[in-house]
């Protein structure tokens, strides 16, 4: 067991080192694709951290992502970069605590609708502020950072998200969330403070999304609320997580890579029909592989195992 564990750790470290070399061997286009993949990797994994075990489907991803981007747009040139990231994380954490406390009493479709509404509300508020107070809708972001540096930051963040997720899964908090996902009434009656558990995890998940937005911001040079708070991002993260499979932490990886590439192709080939293509992809995934790729593979292994057992 311990040999298997250390072999696994060694393989993970080797993978991370290998991924760190990506910017040195790729051209500009490939690196930009890698950044996209890494960014969605963080978003989809952070999404799964909360929504996977609890089965609370959140469409607020872009609200936090956009807040991260706007934190950089406002403060990026004033303060040192680590401080900007720390502030982005704190804002994301504080906002998600407020949102969590006020909404996690909702369940099912009401929660979904509310999170979608929240993202739109934040976008409208920022738009209102920019139009009425600063009197210009867009902002320029001039921060001296290379694409390779953006990639490395995202990679580091992805590693942090995975390690946090792994630690949470092994903790009592992880079990509490799974109990909540299975049956919230049972969770309360075995002594779980369901509100606290959900809010804490929602806040962590949202803060990681905020950080991803902050790291990605310099790549745009120019942002306005429609770019930073584009609701399509929330839906894309959801599809990616569902395609990969949300009952395993590493599940979304298998959804992010094919879909980022697919969306890239769709955007290039069908720029005018992009939304409807995304919609069709969404439908196909939900109908054909409801438990995601990981669930599909595990299901096949399970029935193979059963067939073998029946023969023997």
């Amino acid at each position: 067991m311990s040999i298997r564990n250390s072999a696994f750790s060694a393989a993970m470290i080797a993978l991370i080192v290998l991924l760190a070399f990506v910017p040195l061997v790729t051209n500009g286009y490939q690196l930009s694709l890698a950044i996209n993949i890494m960014s969605y990797m963080v978003l989809a994994t952070a999404w799964t951290l909360f929504s996977g075990p609890t089965r609370y489907v959140s469409l607020a991803t872009v609200a936090f992502f956009g807040i991260g981007a706007y934190t950089v747009a406002v403060l990026g040139e004033e303060l040192s970069w680590p401080l900007v990231l720390a502030i982005a994380f704190s804002i994301g954490f504080a906002l998600s605590l407020i949102v969590g406390l006020s909404t996690l009493r909702l369940s099912g479709v009401y929660f979904v609708i509310f999170t979608f509404g929240l993202a739109e509300l934040v976008r409208q508020l920022v738009t209102w502020y920019e139009v009425n107070v600063t009197r210009t809708l867009g902002r320029y972001i001039f921060i001296d950072v290379t694409h390779a540096q953006i990639y490395w930051q995202l990679l580091a963040l992805a590693v942090i998200v995975f390690i946090s997720g792994w630690l949470i899964q092994r903790s009592k908090l992880g079990l509490a969330l799974r109990v909540i996902g299975d049956d919230e009434a049972v969770a309360r009656h075995v002594g779980i403070n369901t509100t606290l558990a959900k809010v804490v995890l929602f806040a962590f998940s949202a803060s990681f999304m905020t950080l991803a937005g902050a790291i990605m911001a310099p790549r745009w040079t120019y942002i306005d609320p429609a770019i930073a708070f584009n609701p399509v991002v929330s839906f894309q993260v959801l599809i990616m997580a569902l395609l990969g499979g949300v009952h395993r932490l590493y599940g979304p990886v298998f959804g992010v890579i094919p879909l980022v590439i697919l969306f890239e192709v769709l955007l290039a080939k069908f720029p005018n029909h992009f939304s409807i293509m995304v919609g069709i992809a969404f439908l196909l995934i939900v109908y054909a592989i409801p438990r995601g790729i990981v669930g599909l593979v595990e299901g096949m292994q399970f029935s193979l195992h059963k067939a073998k057992g029946a023969k023997a």
Binding site: L175, R178, D182, D183, H189, G191
Partner: protein, 243 residues
């Protein structure tokens, strides 16, 4: 006479215009098995929901060893030492049997975790007759085994008071015999149980005392033999002789 473990006084809950529980007063002493009977819709499950905090009372008090429970949220009541099973069995479908029991061990007043919890979970599964099924998914269990598992999860919390909501309902005669034996063995351990039940055999053989409810009110209390012979109880179940 020793002080009651649980004392419920003037408990009332309305759903819109319907008074589901109307001024119910009852007590359970340590080590007793007390039955809560009554026709369908008489408010028995609502009483359990009010004691365990699934619902909030409109009036009345619930005390466990003198500590007021009626204002506490359900998870705090669970930590105070009240565990329950559900009328429609509720096991955690995405988990193994062992994980279900660990869910009961991990969050109570005396939280257990890690290897200690694994060990305790195994012992509890043995206790309810699921020794070999620790790594089986709950979705593969039969109905009686799901009920056993639910009981193991409740026992895992080391409750001072165990609430069983029709735990013996829906079992075939053979399973029922096993079920009654299992509850009887809990009494031998000195557990205190308040059980909602319709199965008369179980009530006669298990309960020290019973309360009978009808239309939200308590209409009788006493030994099973006495309350089941009470004319008002018979009327509640069967209607008037001339009806």
């Amino acid at each position: 006479m020793n002080a009651p473990l649980l004392s419920v006084s003037g408990l009332t809950r309305r759903f819109g215009g319907l008074v589901a529980v109307d001024g119910v007063t009852l007590e359970v002493r340590a080590g007793e098995i007390v039955g809560l009977l009554g026709p369908n819709g008489s408010g028995k499950t609502t009483v359990l929901n009010l004691i365990s905090g699934a619902l909030k009372a409109d009036a009345g008090s619930v005390q466990l060893r003198g500590r007021a429970l009626e204002k506490l949220p359900a998870f705090k009541i669970a930590r105070e030492g009240v565990a329950r099973t559900f009328q429609l069995v509720r096991v955690l479908g995405s988990m193994t049997c062992k994980e279900n029991v660990i869910a009961g061990l991990a969050f109570g007043a005396k939280s257990r975790w890690g290897t200690e919890a694994e060990q305790a979970a195994h012992e509890l599964l043995v206790r309810v007759g699921l020794a070999a099924r620790g790594n089986v998914m709950t979705s593969e269990l039969t109905y009686i085994d799901q009920k056993r598992l639910e009981l193991a999860r409740a026992l895992a919390m080391q409750p001072q008071l165990l609430l069983l909501d029709e735990w013996l309902a829906g079992l075939n005669p053979n399973e029922l015999r096993n079920g009654i034996e299992l509850v009887r063995s809990l009494r031998a351990e000195g557990r205190t149980i308040l059980m909602v039940e319709h199965v008369m055999d179980a009530i006669r053989s298990l309960c020290d005392r019973c309360y009978v409810m009808n239309a939200g009110r308590k209409i009788a209390e006493g030994t099973p033999k006495d309350v089941l012979a009470d004319p008002e109880v018979i009327r509640a179940y069967l209607g008037d002789a001339d009806a």
